[in-house]
Amino acid sequence: MRTVNSFVGQPIERLEDLRLVRGRGQYVDDLARKNMLYAVILRSSTGHGRIRSIDIAAAKGLLGVRAVITAADLGERTPVVPMRLQPLPDFEPFAQPVMARDKVRYVGEALAMVIADTAGIAEDAIGLIDADIEPLPAVSTWQFAAKNEALLFEDTGSNTSMVFRAVLGDAAAAFKDAPYTRRECFSTQRHTALPMEPRGVLAEWNDAQGKLTVWGAAKVLFANRRILAKAMGLTEAAIDMVENDVGGGFGARGEFYPEDFLIPFAARYVGRPVKWTEDRREHLMTINHARESAVDVEIACRRDGTILGLRGHAFVDMGAYMRTNGAVGARNIAQFMSGAYRIPNIDIDVTLLQTNKTPVGTYRGPGRFETDFYRERLFDMVARDLGIDQIEFRRRNLVREADMPYKVATITPFESKDELDSGDYSVTLDRCLAEFGWAEKAKLKGKLVDGRYHGLAVSCFIEGGAAGPKESARLVLETDGSLSVYMGSSGVGQGLETAFAQIAADAMEMPMDRINQVLHGSTAYVSDGYGAYHSRSIVMGGSAVLDAAKKLRDIMRAEAARRLNCGAGEVVLADERASAPGGKSVSWAELAPEPISIEGAFHNHKHTWAYGAHAAHVTVDPKTGQVALLDYVAVENCGRMINPLTLKGQLVGAVVQGLGGAFLEHLVYDDSGQLLTGSLADYLVPTASDFPKIRGFVMESHPSPINPLGAKGAGEGGIISVGGVISNAIADALSSLGAEPRDLPLSPPRVWQLVQDARK
C-alpha cells in the first residue's frame, strides 16, 4: 500500500518531546568543554554618561582571573552590531558598539568583561572594577528625545534616526469631504519577549586550524556568522555556528547581540573555550525590548461605516541604539495599521526616536500587536459614534476574497510594497463568533451583575509570514534506506523537527519512523540558511524539503533504472522499494551503497497572510479595577495545516503572551534611565492561575498561492489581536460610564483610574 500524504495535517505527537520531557534536552548552558573558562560582563548602571575611566587593576589581580577585557582591548575601532533588516545608511550613526568606549547610553550596556576559572570568581572580579562615569542628562522618554535638548549621539544633531511614511491612495482628498472623522491618541508600553532560557554563548578557538566554533546560536545562524566573520576578521568558512536546544525565541533570542562578538573574541584572546550565561536581571536589561510606541491617528468614514481613510503620526521609542532588526516594529505599525481591512487612503508617518533605554527589536507580532490595538480601539469608538454594531462595522470593511491579492500601503524611504495573498476573512470571523457563543453572551454587554460589569469584543487580524529570499534543505538517503533531513531553518522551541519530518515523509512517500532525525541549527548542515523569523520556517523550509525530495527521488529513479534495466520514468518508488514495470525491484537501501545527499531550496519574495479573529468576554470590578477574563476564543486560518496540535499550541500560547502585554508586562524606567523592573518579581508575566479559559481553533482553506505547500506562516497570530480585543471588551463593559482605554497595560490601578475619571 502506498503511503501518500498521510502525515501532513495530522496532530502528530512531537519527536522533540521524547528528550525534552525527560530533561535530556541540551541547552547551551548545559554544555561544557575541556579547560573551559567563564565570562561575566560588567554592565553600566548609568543610563547616560561619559566614561572617564575604567580601573581594572584589582580585578586582574584576583586569583583565578585570566583576563579583563575593555573596549580598549578590542582594537582601534570598536566593532558595531550591524542592521540585518532595513540597513539604511541613515541608521549607521546609531549602531551599537559591542562594548561602550566613550559613552554609555543605557543601563545594561557592556563596560568590561572578566574571564575566570569559575563564574563565581568572575563575578567577584566584576565587583572590583571601578568604572568612573560622568552622568549626562538622560533621555528617558521619546517625548523628551523629540526635543533634542539632550543628544545620545552628538554628531548626528538629533535623536530621530528615521521617519518612515506609509502611503496608499490620497488621504488628503479622502478627508477633505468626509462626512465623519475622529482623531484619537493611543499608546502601548515597553515590554519584551522573555524566553525562559536565558541567553548564553560558548565559543572555542582552535588556533592550529584557525577555526572558531560558537554554540548557543539561534534564529539566524548564517546571518550571524556573516556578521561575526567580518568583525573577527575571519572567513565565514572558518566559523561553525551551532544551535542547541533553544528555550524560546519569540523574535528576541538569536539576533546578533554584543555578546555574540564578545565571547568568541574572548575565546580567541585567552586561547581557551569561554562560556557566558546571562542572569535574569541582565536579560531584562539587555535582550531586545519592544512595543513602546504611541499614535495620533484620524479616521474618515461614510455614515454607513465605510472607511474612507486613515492618517496620522506614530512615534516609536527605539532605545539607545539601532540593533539588527530594530526598525521592523516601527515599519509594521505604519504599513499594517489597516490590518485585515479595506482602507483605500492611508498616510501615516512613524518617527523613530532614540532614548537612554535598552535597544528594541522584534517581539512576536512586531508592530502588529501595537497597531491592532490602535486600530481596533478606534473602530469600536467609531462604531459607537455611528450607531453601527461593532461586528457589522468590521464585516463591512474587511478585505474581501474578490479583492485578493490586495495591496497595502507602501513604505518609504525604502519602497517596501506588500500585498495580502488569499483568503476569506469573513469565514474566520463567523467561526470565532460561533465558537464564542456571541449571540448568547451579547445579552450581558455592559450589564452590571453582582458588582461587575460585563463586556465583549471581537477583532480580526492578519499575520505576515514566509520572508524570503530563500531557504535550504538537504536530504540524505542513508545506506540502510532511511532518511536524514538537514535544514537551514532554526528551531526555537516551536516543534520544527516534527513538522519537517511530516513534510519529508509525505514528500518521499515513506513512513515517518524511517526518518532518522531532522537536524537543524548548524552552519555545517546546509550551504546556506536563513533561519526562523517572520513565521517563515514551515513555508520556506517545508517548500525546500519538497524541492530536495523531488530531486532525491529523481536520482533514486535514475539509479533504479540503471539496475533494473528500465526507463527512469517507469520506476515506481513505494514501500521503500524501487520497482520496474516487470515486477523486479530493489530496496532503497540497495540504491544507496553510499549515502545519497542532495540539497533543495525554495526562493520567494512574496509573503503569506494567515488570518483570523479573536473574541473576549471580561468582567470589570469598578471598585478595584480588577478585570476577569471569562472566555477567550482565537481562530486562525493558515491555508494548510502541517500539524494541528502544534499549530493550536502556538495559537493559545501566543494569546496568553499577549494577555501579559495587555494586562501585566511593563518595563518601567525612571527619569534617570534606570530600569525599575529588573526581576521577575517586578516584571510580571502570566502564570497558570491568571487566565484559565483560552480556546484556540485552527482552520485551513484558501491555500497560499505562493508556495507549493499552500501553507501560510503561523504562530504569531495569537498575540496580534490581544491588546485590541481586551481593551475593547473593557470599554464595552464600562460603556455606561463612557470610559475609553487608550493606553496599555490595563493593570488594575489603570482600570480603576479610568472608572474614576469617567465618573467625574
Binding site: R19, L20, Y27, T646
Partner: protein
C-alpha cells in the same frame, strides 16, 4: 567543604563552596543538566527539584543544605526507555514547546500528584502558578497534569 547526599537514589559526595546553590551543584558538578535555571531568584520554578519529597527551588537552596537529604531531579523521575505516565501525558497534550520550563513542571506536578492524586483543576493551577511557562499558555499543562492523575491513584507513584 564536602557535602554528602543522595541524588536519584545514588549517594554522592561533592566538594563545594558554601555559596554554591544546589542547582549549580546538580548541573555543573554532578552534570545533571535536566534541572534548568531560569531566574536565580526563586520566581520561575524551572529549577524545581524534590528534596525529601518536597518541591524545592534549587536556585534558592544551597548545596550544603542538602547534607543527608534525598534529592530527586527530572532525571530521577524518568525511565531509561520510554516515558512515564506523567511525561506521556505532557506529550499527548502538547504541554511543552521549548521544553525549558518542563523539568520544573514535571517535578512540581509529580510532588502534587503524589500527595493529592484527586486534586482538581483549580488546585493544579494554584500549585503550578509558581512555575512560569512562556510558550504554552498553561492550558495544555493543566490538562496534562489532570490527565495523569489516574496513574498516581493506582499506585501512588505515577509509575
Amino acid at each position: 567543604m564536602p557535602v554528602r547526599f543522595e541524588v536519584n537514589g545514588k549517594p554522592v559526595e561533592v566538594e563545594v563552596e558554601p555559596r554554591l546553590t544546589l542547582a549549580d551543584c546538580l548541573r555543573h558538578h554532578l552534570r545533571l543538566t535536566g534541572t534548568h535555571v531560569g531566574c536565580e531568584h526563586g520566581v520561575c520554578g524551572a529549577c524545581t527539584v524534590l528534596v525529601d519529597g518536597a518541591a524545592v527551588r534549587s536556585c534558592l537552596f544551597l548545596a550544603v543544605q542538602a547534607e543527608g537529604a534525598k534529592v530527586v531531579t527530572v532525571e530521577g523521575l524518568s525511565l531509561e526507555e520510554g516515558l512515564t505516565p506523567l511525561q506521556a501525558s505532557f506529550r499527548r497534550h502538547h504541554a511543552l514547546q521549548c521544553g525549558f520550563c518542563t523539568p520544573g513542571m514535571i517535578t512540581t506536578a509529580h510532588a502534587l500528584l503524589s500527595e493529592e492524586p484527586d486534586c482538581d483543576a483549580d488546585r493544579v493551577r494554584e500549585v503550578l502558578s509558581g512555575n512560569i511557562c512562556r510558550c504554552t499558555g498553561y492550558i495544555s499543562i493543566v490538562e496534562a497534569v489532570l490527565d495523569a492523575r489516574a496513574a498516581y491513584k493506582r499506585d501512588g507513584k505515577g509509575a
